[in-house]
């Protein structure tokens, strides 16, 4: 059986690293990282898709955030209640989706691309609003958790000793409370104070994993020669932390924050689904699914669209995180194609090939 058979032979490995070193010659760390990230097809596609989603959902129904806002290009908003249409519906059904992506007759968005709910509200507007909410929650949780986690992790990893002990016990303290439980309690009782408030509160409980990682990174980095060199040169603690260690730990932080964000979008939708997150009249993707799951057999579109948006956003964030991890990991070797390997012995040829 060949399951265990090796794909790479020993010699090729050596050549690969030669090619690899040639490629990164004379480039700064951030250039190398950027190059590696751009090479990651999944991540690049995800960046593109995610940006498109963000622009699309925020421009469609418009938004109003702390006084800054725009009006959307879509004709309905979440409060409008147009009459139920029957266009494109089988007999006996109302409010079917009019979205038609097959070129030809009826191509285009139509009156209600995602259909209408039981009251007649335009489902496209509702889903756009819900997606805005999810993206907002995701970003806020990412920023709050990223900030707290980085600060606590850095301080505890850099100063060690009793500060470390206290902060890490505090970290354990946060870990003991399962996120969904604290989220439910917070969401149920404070959900009516608005989605930003909910996100801020959830972020306060989402940083523990990141803090551990950052602490670990600081513990190793502070023993490195360049930190000693900086210290001997008379650099202050502040300068060492910000200029020398944090810049080296930034990869870990970014990757971890993307993972927190992809978890956050699922957490928000799960809480809203349980009824402990965003509450009506506000809209969120999880809430939409929970409200309409029983109508699946008759009007499946009420169930499909919000779910697809959750999956799409979360999938993109996960892929971007994966791409970032690969890009920041110095040990990570990208795949070197057979063609490059055959050209690899002649660096000049490999360069012209690029």
């Amino acid at each position: 059986m060949s399951i265990f058979k090796r794909v790479n032979k020993g010699m090729a490995e050596h050549t690969d690293s030669d090619i690899f070193n040639k490629e990164t010659e004379g480039l700064s760390q951030s250039q190398i990282v950027l190059r590696r990230f751009i090479r990651h097809h999944g991540a690049m596609i995800s960046v593109f898709v995610l940006l498109s989603i963000v622009i699309f959902v925020f421009s469609a129904t418009g938004f109003d955030l702390l006084g800054i806002g725009i009006n959307g290009w879509w004709k309905y908003n979440t409060l409008d209640i147009p009459s139920l249409g029957t266009k494109g519906c089988p007999a006996g059904l109302q409010g079917c989706p009019t979205l038609n992506l097959i070129p030809g007759k009826g191509f285009g968005l139509g009156d209600h691309p995602f259909g209408q709910d039981d009251l007649g509200r335009d489902y496209f507007a509702l889903v756009m609003r819900g997606a805005q909410r999810s993206l907002l929650v995701m970003t806020v949780i990412g920023i709050v958790a990223g900030f707290i986690g980085t600060v606590i992790g850095s301080i505890s990893g850099f100063y060690r000793g009793w500060i470390d002990a206290v902060l890490m016990r505090f970290n354990d303290f946060i870990i003991t409370i399962p996120t969904i439980i604290i989220g439910s309690v917070i969401g149920f009782h404070f959900g009516n104070k608005g989605v930003i408030f909910l996100a801020l509160f959830l972020g306060v409980f989402a940083w523990s994993g990141l803090a551990r990682l950052v602490r670990g990174e600081f513990l190793t980095l502070r023993e490195r020669e360049f930190v000693d060199a900086a210290r001997v040169a008379g650099a202050s603690n502040r300068r060492i932390i910000f200029k020398h260690i944090l810049t080296n730990a930034v990869g870990v932080i970014i990757v971890s924050v993307t993972l927190i964000m992809s978890g956050a979008i699922l957490l928000e939708s799960a809480l809203s689904y349980l009824g402990f997150g965003v509450v009506p009249p506000d809209v969120s993707l999880g809430l939409l699914i929970s409200q309409y799951q029983d109508s699946f057999t008759t009007r499946p579109w009420l169930f499909w669209y919000p779910g697809l948006f959750i999956v799409a956003i979360s999938l993109c964030v996960n892929f971007i995180g994966d791409g970032l991890r690969d890009a920041f990991d110095p040990r990570q070797r990208r795949r070197i194609s057979r063609k490059e390997r055959s050209l690899g012995r002649n660096p000049q040829a490999s360069k012209t090939q690029d």
């Binding site: 265990f4 058979k5 399962p178 439980i181 309690v185 689904y273 349980l274 999956v311 996960n318 892929f319």
Partner: protein, 514 residues
């Protein structure tokens, strides 16, 4: 070491104290348990309010009331342990006692399947790094990672359960589906096998043909409506298992292991009818456990007979093979129960339920019916939970194995001229298991809290339901009861993970050397 554990536990208790205090007060200040009654015009409402205030100590301010709750827990030392009473006056612990087994039943199977499949696929994915299989696996894992479980659950209910039940009415697969599933199977195996183009093509062709033949035969013989294995099929499957397990566990070169494992299906064939007799005559969980013990006993005995030296691997191979064959026996028995089961009035030929944890209309007293009923109710939640947690294990085991494969000792092992199987299974895989173990331990504790949504979607009455009810009705003691169980488990799991880590990996010391 003991001092270390003691110190850790002391710190953990302080932490638990802090987090429970926080949660108690947070939950207490955020809602009024008497809200519903205050507005009521019912003349009895006043009396009810008074009663609630009395037995829930609502006249005591929350921070102080917390200590009343804590006193109940500390009562464990004096023999008066209590988690308080719920709103309706019943002790919280009695609710928990009902809910915990349900939740454990819900998550155990899914966790085990997710771990085994996740590690398996993760390892193959790592061994085939940057192959099409690896890319496909990465994509699938991320997709599953991004799925909201409640969404998957509804899809499973609508498509899997209902379509499967419809399918069972006639029980035949259309030729189109046979072709599609055969092609998918073929692609899967072809992606798994490395080698030159010719070899991949052969594997693909064999897999497609085998799958198509089996499905056609099964469909033509109405196997799906009248399932069963029978001694002959079980013997063939057993031989296959014996080869497979021996190959992975010790390598086919180990004659003793191969012979010993091969004996298992032969013994199974001989014992087939006696076992059926026992199953029918003495149905019960005890019989199954007893048979499991006997199975392992036989396996150890046979292995000791065949292996004169280096018995460990041989015993391991035989025991795994025999237990798997034992599971085949169980499946066979359940399949035989299938036809009478789905013909009962309670089931009415719709065997896969979309909701609830058991069928209350089922005639009581028949062990195999109840067993099968539990299994069918577990199908959908298990698939949903497996899909979600599978992804994490795939990614994690892939990453860890890749890391391990870069180590010097792997190079050394290869340089010694060990076979690639030995290098992977003995040197790389075992070291991969170290970090995986700790992840699994922590995950398992977390999953009990995480089953809240699954229980809600599938209508199970476990910890999640308790928790939902507690929040919805401001039942503080019930909420704290659920929290007490989940957070204690989380804390203990973390401690266990640290200890396991240091036990498995001698490089890590939890206690500083003097």
């Amino acid at each position: 070491m003991l001092a270390y554990i003691g110190r850790r536990i002391a710190v953990l208790l302080v932490i638990l104290f802090g987090s429970s205090f926080l949660l108690y007060n947070l939950a207490a200040i955020s809602g009024d348990p008497l809200e519903g009654l205050r507005g009521s015009t019912d003349p009895k409402a006043q009396a009810q309010i008074a009663a609630l205030i009395r037995h829930l100590h609502l006249n005591v301010p929350p921070p102080a009331r917390y200590f009343l709750w804590l006193k109940g827990i500390l009562g464990a030392f004096t023999g008066h342990f209590t988690l308080g009473v719920t709103r309706d006056g019943n002790p919280v612990s009695s609710y928990l006692a009902d809910a915990i087994p349900t939740t454990i039943r819900l998550i155990t199977m899914a966790t085990v399947i997710a771990i085994i499949m996740g590690i398996g696929f993760g390892i193959v994915s790592a061994l085939r790094q940057y192959s099409r299989f690896d890319y496909a696996m990465t994509f699938v894992a991320f997709l599953m990672y991004s799925l909201p479980i409640f969404w998957v659950a509804v899809l499973l209910k609508e498509y899997m359960a209902i379509n499967f039940n419809d399918f069972l009415v006639h029980g035949t697969i259309s030729p189109l589906w046979i072709v599609i599933s055969s092609l998918i199977t073929g692609l899967f195996w072809a992606a798994l096998i490395s080698g030159d183009r010719r070899k991949v093509q052969i594997v693909f062709a064999v897999a497609v043909l085998a799958n198509a033949t089996v499905l056609t035969i099964l469909s033509a013989t109405k196997w799906f409506t009248h399932p069963g294995l029978g001694p002959i099929v079980m013997f063939i499957l057993g031989i296959g298992l014996a080869y497979g397990i021996t190959f992975i566990s010790t390598g086919l070169g180990n004659r003793a292991a191969l012979l010993s494992a091969q004996s298992m299906p032969i013994i199974a064939l001989v014992l087939y009818y006696p076992v059926q007799y026992f199953f029918t005559k003495f149905p019960g969980a005890l019989t199954i456990l007893l048979m499991l013990a006997i199975t392992i006993g036989i396996a150890v005995g046979v292995a000791t007979y065949f292996a004169k030296i280096d018995r460990g691997p041989v015993i391991r191979t035989s025991v795994i093979t025999s237990v798997l064959i034992g599971i085949l026996f169980l499946i066979d028995k359940l399949m035989k129960t299938w036809v009478p089961y789905i013909n009962t009035d309670a089931i009415h030929n719709r065997p896969i339920p979309t909701i609830s944890q058991s069928n209350s209309l089922l005639p009581p007293g028949n062990f195999w019916f109840t067993f099968l009923d539990t299994v069918t109710h577990l199908v959908l939640p298990t698939i949903a939970l497996t899909l979600i947690s599978f992804a994490g294990y795939v990614r994690y085991s892939r990453g860890t194995l890749l890391e391990v494969l870069n180590q010097d000792y792997i190079r050394t092992a290869r340089a010694k001229g060990l076979t690639e199987r030995t290098v992977i299974m003995r040197h790389a895989f075992r070291n991969t298991l170290i970090p995986l173990t700790t992840i699994i331990v922590v995950d398992f504790a977390g999953i009990i809290g995480g089953a809240i949504i699954t229980e809600r979607v599938f209508g199970w009455q476990g910890m999640g339901t308790l928790f939902n009810n507690a929040i919805g009705s401001y039942d503080l003691n019930l909420l704290m009861g659920v929290f007490f169980v989940t957070s204690s488990l989380a804390v203990l799991a973390n401690l266990l993970a640290d200890l396991l880590y240091s036990a498995l990996d001698p490089r890590i010391r939890v206690v500083g050397k003097k």
